[in-house]
C-alpha cells in the first residue's frame, strides 16, 4: 500500500473499530436516551470509516473495497490505535474512552479538513460536527459521573486511570505521519497534544476528577500489534462474512 492509502486506512480503522465496540452497547445502555446517543456515535463513526476504507482500497489499486478491507484482513493488518479496541467493562470506561479519543479525533479532523487528499478532507469536514457532538456528549457524562455520586466518581476516576496509558499512542508520530504531514495530506499528531491535554485536564477538573500521572504508554496499533482481545473482536466482526466466501449481501 502507498502512504496515502495506509494513512486513510489508519483513520478508517480507528473509526471502524470504535464503532464496533460502541455497537456493543445497543440494548445495554443505562437509559433509553443513552442507547440512542451511543448508537448515534457508532453510526457516525461507521459512516466515517466506510469512505476512508474505500479510499484506501482505491489508492491501493488491488480491487479491495470497503468490505474486503473490513472483513478480510487479519489481526496484524489492522492499523487502528489501541484505545479504540479495548472492551468496555462499564459505562464509565465507555465515556472515558470517548472523552479521550474524541478530543483527539476532533483536533485531527479539524486539521484534516485542509488535507491535500480530497476524500480525506471531505470526510474530515463532515466529521468535525459529528465528533464535536461526541466530545460534548462525553464531557456532559464525565461531569455527571465525576461530580455525581461517590460510586460514580470512583468508577469514573478508575476508568480514566485505566485508559490514560492508551491516550499517549495517538500523539506519537511515526515516519508515515511525518511524511503525510509534510505532504499536506495528514497532520503531525504531536502538534495536537497540548490542546488535547488542556481540554481534557480542564474537563476532568470540572468533573472533580484527577488527571492521572503519565507513565506506561503502550503502543503498536499503527504497526498492527494489538491487544490480545482484538482478535476476538475481529473474529466476531468477520465471522459471517468469512463463512460465505465470495457472497454478496
Amino acid at each position: 500500500m502507498n502512504d496515502v492509502a495506509t494513512y486513510a486506512l489508519r483513520l478508517g480503522d480507528d473509526a471502524l473499530i470504535l464503532s464496533q465496540r460502541l455497537a456493543w452497547w445497543s440494548a445495554r445502555a443505562p437509559e433509553l436516551e443513552e442507547d440512542l446517543a451511543l448508537t448515534n456515535v457508532a453510526l457516525d463513526l461507521l459512516g466515517q470509516a466506510r469512505p476512508l476504507l474505500a479510499r484506501a482500497g482505491e489508492l491501493e489499486g488491488r480491487g479491495r473495497d470497503e468490505d474486503a478491507l473490513a472483513y478480510l484482513r487479519g489481526e496484524r493488518e489492522f492499523l487502528n490505535l489501541l484505545i479504540v479496541e479495548l472492551p468496555d467493562r462499564d459505562f464509565a470506561e465507555a465515556i472515558a474512552r470517548l472523552l479521550l479519543f474524541s478530543t483527539f479525533q476532533l483536533a485531527r479532523c479539524e486539521a484534516l479538513t485542509g488535507s491535500a487528499d480530497e476524500l480525506i478532507a471531505g470526510v474530515a469536514a463532515k466529521a468535525v460536527k459529528e465528533v464535536a457532538y461526541h466530545r460534548d456528549h462525553a464531557v456532559r457524562w464525565t461531569l455527571r459521573l465525576g461530580d455525581g455520586t461517590e460510586e460514580s466518581h470512583a468508577r469514573m476516576q478508575a476508568a480514566i486511570e485505566r485508559l490514560w496509558p492508551y491516550a499517549h499512542e495517538p500523539f506519537a508520530a511515526d515516519e508515515l505521519d511525518l511524511r503525510m504531514a509534510g505532504e499536506g495530506v495528514g497532520v503531525d499528531p504531536a502538534t495536537l497534544r497540548d490542546g488535547w491535554r488542556a481540554f481534557v485536564a480542564e474537563t476532568l477538573g470540572r468533573a472533580t476528577l484527577g488527571v492521572p500521572a503519565d507513565g506506561w504508554a503502550p503502543s503498536g496499533g499503527r504497526r498492527g500489534e494489538h491487544t490480545e482481545g482484538f482478535g476476538f473482536l475481529l473474529a466476531e466482526l468477520q465471522s459471517l462474512h468469512r463463512a460465505h466466501v465470495g457472497a454478496t449481501w
Binding site: 471502524l16 445497543s26 448508537t39 472483513y71 455527571r144 455520586t149
Partner: protein
C-alpha cells in the same frame, strides 16, 4: 368520583365524530387504562425488540448492512421513547412503565421471544415481523387518542422503511449462493407462523376487542388484519422466489383472499405464558442492563440536584 354527564357526553361525541381525544380532555378510566396497557405493551415491544436484531449488529456481513441494521435498532429505541412519551400523557411515568415491564406485569409482543439464528432472520424480521406490525399499526394512526395516533404516524413511516430493508436482505440472499438461499428460506420457515400469531387470538377468543373498537382504539378485528397481512405477503414471497411454510395456502377466488392453514394456538399461548425459546433471556437481558445502569442514573440525578442547588445558591 362520578363522571359528570356532560363530560361523558363530550367524550362520546368526540369518538362518534371520529375526532381525537387529547391529554387534557376528560376520558373514562377504562379508556385510559386500556390505552396505557396497549401503548405500554407497544413501547416495551420496541425496547425488547432491539435484542433479537441487536444480536447481529456486530456480525453484519457488510458495512452497508451493518449501518442499516444499527440505524434500525436505533429507530426501535426511538419508537420506544415516543411511545413512552405518549403513555406519559395519560399520567403514568416512564419509571412506572419500566417497572411494570421488568416485573413482568406488562407484556411485550411475543414475537420477540423467538431467537435470531442466522443473518437471514434480519431479513425475515424486517419483511414479516415489521410487515405484520405495519398492518397492525396503520389503523392506529387513526386511533381516537391523539398522542398515540400521532406517534404512530411517524412510527409507521419508519417501519415501512424497515420492512423494505428486510425485503431487500431476503432478496439479496434468495439471489445469492446456495447457502444464502437456504438461509433465507429457513428464516422464512421459522418466522412465518409466529408472524401470523402477532395479530393475536382469533376474533371469537379476543375478549377486549369489541370495547376497543367502540372506543376507536382498534379499527379492525384480529382476523381481518391477519388476512390483510397474508394477502400482502403471498405475492411478495413469490417475488422473493421463497416459499411460505403452509401447504394449505392458496388463492380463494370466491373470498377474494388467500386461504391459509390452521395456526398452532397452543404454541402461541405457550410463548405468551412465558415459555417461548427466549422469554427468560429477553427479560434477564433487560433486567441486567437496567441494574447495571442504576449507578449511572443515580449519578445523573445526583449531579442534576447539585447543579440545581448551585443555581439556587448563586
Amino acid at each position: 368520583m362520578i363522571a359528570d354527564a356532560a363530560l361523558v357526553e363530550a367524550f362520546e361525541a368526540t369518538i362518534a365524530a371520529d375526532e381525537r381525544i387529547e391529554p387534557r380532555d376528560w376520558m373514562p378510566d377504562d379508556y385510559r387504562a386500556t390505552l396505557v396497557r396497549q401503548i405500554a405493551q407497544h413501547a416495551h415491544s420496541e425496547i425488547i425488540g432491539m435484542q433479537p436484531e441487536g444480536n447481529w449488529i456486530t456480525r453484519a456481513p457488510s458495512l452497508r448492512r451493518k449501518a442499516i441494521l444499527m440505524a434500525k435498532v436505533q429507530d426501535e429505541a426511538g419508537h420506544g421513547a415516543y411511545l413512552y412519551s405518549a403513555a406519559e400523557t395519560l399520567g403514568v411515568s416512564r419509571d412506572e412503565l419500566t417497572e411494570q415491564l421488568l416485573t413482568g406485569r406488562q407484556k411485550y409482543s411475543s414475537i420477540f421471544n423467538y431467537p435470531t439464528l442466522t443473518w437471514a432472520d434480519m431479513g425475515a424480521i424486517g419483511w414479516l415481523v415489521d410487515g405484520a406490525a405495519i398492518v397492525n399499526q396503520v389503523p392506529i394512526t387513526r386511533c381516537s387518542y391523539g398522542p398515540y395516533a400521532r406517534a404512530m404516524v411517524r412510527i409507521c413511516k419508519e417501519e415501512s422503511f424497515h420492512q423494505r430493508q428486510g425485503f431487500e436482505i431476503l432478496h439479496a440472499l434468495a439471489r445469492g449462493t446456495e447457502a444464502q438461499r437456504a438461509m433465507a428460506q429457513d428464516a422464512v420457515d421459522r418466522w412465518w407462523w409466529p408472524s401470523l400469531m402477532m395479530f393475536g387470538p382469533p376474533d371469537d377468543e379476543s375478549p377486549h376487542s369489541a370495547q376497543s373498537m367502540a372506543w376507536g382504539i382498534k379499527r379492525f378485528s384480529n382476523d381481518e388484519l391477519r388476512q390483510r397481512f397474508v394477502d400482502m405477503a403471498v405475492p411478495q414471497a413469490e417475488s422473493l422466489t421463497l416459499t411460505l411454510p403452509d401447504a394449505e395456502l392458496r388463492w380463494n377466488e370466491q373470498r377474494g383472499h388467500y386461504d391459509f392453514g390452521p395456526i398452532d394456538w397452543d404454541e402461541f399461548w405457550t410463548v405468551v405464558k412465558g415459555n417461548g425459546p427466549c422469554n427468560r433471556q429477553r427479560m434477564e437481558h433487560r433486567r441486567a442492563a437496567h441494574a447495571d445502569g442504576a449507578w449511572v442514573r443515580e449519578a445523573a440525578a445526583a449531579y442534576a440536584a447539585k447543579q440545581d442547588a448551585r443555581r439556587v445558591a448563586a
